[in-house]
């Protein structure tokens, strides 16, 4: 019996016994502790472990009751909760609700930072899940301004570095790409970008610092590519790129990989590349700051858009 089967058996037998135990008013078994420990081992991104965590967490009310009965301190409960949160945020909120963990505002903020690790989407989900008030949200943003450099230099916790391929490996599998006017297209976008930047700086001198920050990110996205890997099977077949000297991957959509989807005209290459780039230019001009920096560049599979 391997560890997965063993823990699954323990969890099952615990919950089977749990019902009887409740009827007989006997204390809960310590099997659940063993199950949690086994399930929450520290090796990251182990699919089996995630399945175990899921199996355990689906029985959250019973677990919370068990922890309570076993005399877990709030700190210990929080520690279990945090381990769950790093795997699955929704389950963590469920756990928090059932285990009745109350955070003070400072703890909530620290927790939000810890879990979000610089990812805005996760930060917002944590803030909503923990029912942050407007004041707490404002405070977290004010705090994050001080921590901005760390956050911007965040390291993605996704295992892209291990699953990506080096360019040599990638090119060995992919047929050579014919340029087909790509150099001119990329040069044209650069010219437009530079003209827009100059025009913006002339018209709104106060925007200069922000525009320089953007330009720096754009320049990083034009850097040397170290690794490449697939990100999914949607119509534009996106890939991620890892750059030299940069921790944050970029999303690369090569024009030639676009599928002949009913959304795209068959004879139009780059149907998703240029709209993305143009959206970013419009976003920049209107100072909306909703679209992440996007450029058009020549990549391992030919020209395509690269987004921060």
């Amino acid at each position: 019996m391997n560890i997965r089967e063993r823990v699954a058996w323990m969890v099952d037998s615990f919950f089977r016994r749990d019902k009887k135990d409740r009827e007989q008013k006997t204390p809960p078994s310590s099997l659940i502790t063993l199950a949690l420990e086994a399930a929450l081992k520290k090796e990251p991104y182990d699919a089996e472990r995630l399945l175990l965590v899921k199996a355990v967490c689906e029985r959250m009310p019973a677990i919370a009751a068990s922890l309570e009965a076993m005399g877990f301190s709030p700190v210990e409960k929080l520690s279990v909760g945090l381990s769950i949160a790093r795997e699955n945020l929704e389950l963590f909120f469920k756990f928090q609700e059932h285990a009745q963990i109350d955070f003070c505002d400072e703890e909530k903020q620290a927790l939000a930072f810890d879990i979000a690790r610089g990812n805005p989407a996760i930060l917002v989900r944590v803030m909503r899940g923990l029912q942050f008030s407007s004041d707490a949200i404002r405070e977290i943003f004010e705090r994050s301004v001080g921590a901005e450099k760390t956050l911007i230099a965040r390291e993605f916790d996704i295992p892209t570095d291990t699953i990506g391929k080096t360019l040599a490996e990638h090119r060995g599998q992919e047929e050579a790409f014919e340029q087909d006017g790509a150099v001119e297209l990329v040069a044209e976008t650069r010219t437009i970008e530079q003209e827009l930047l100059l025009a913006t700086e002339r018209a709104w001198p106060d925007r200069v610092p922000r525009e320089r920050l953007r330009a720096k990110i754009e320049q990083e996205l034009r850097g040397t590519i170290r690794k490449i890997g697939s990100l999914g099977t949607t119509a534009s077949l996106p890939q991620f790129l890892i750059f030299e000297g940069r921790n944050i991957p970029g999303i690369y959509k090569a024009a030639r990989r676009e599928r002949e989807n009913f959304d795209f005209k068959k004879d139009v290459r780059g149907a998703s590349v240029f709209p993305e780039w143009l959206t970013y230019q419009i976003d920049k001009a209107l100072q909306l700051d909703i679209v992440p920096p996007t450029i058009v560049r020549d990549g391992p599979d030919g020209f395509g858009s690269v987004q921060d």
């Binding site: 805005p120 909503r128 008030s133 407007s134 404002r138 301004v145 450099k149 610092p209 920050l213």
Partner: protein, 97 residues
């Protein structure tokens, strides 16, 4: 006790949040103030799955609908907040590095 919901816009470039609209429940209906675009959208009501849209005149139900409806990373709503006195309408200005 006054109930209200804030709608916050998140700026991923400078990592800052701004309150773009505030909806306060008073006299049985909800009054929204803030950015014109957002306020206009809110006044048209919020559509719901398998149900009629909710409008500001629906009161507290509308507040809860706002809180559920705006959950994007870049535009999101706070939960329904309840205090004796509504604090000032705070606009956190984006700061640059």
């Amino acid at each position: 006790m006054t109930k209200w919901v804030d709608i916050i816009s998140f700026n991923a470039i400078v990592w800052s949040g701004t309150v773009v609209a505030r909806c306060i429940f008073e006299n049985g209906s909800v009054r929204c103030s803030g950015e014109e675009l957002v306020v206009n959208l809110l006044e048209k009501g919020i559509s719901q799955d398998n149900a009629l849209p909710v409008l500001p005149k629906d009161g507290e139900v509308f507040l809860q609908a706002i809180s559920r409806h705006f959950h994007n990373a870049y535009l999101f709503a706070t939960p329904v907040q309840e205090e004796e006195v509504v604090n000032d309408f705070v606009v956190a200005s984006p700061k640059l590095i």
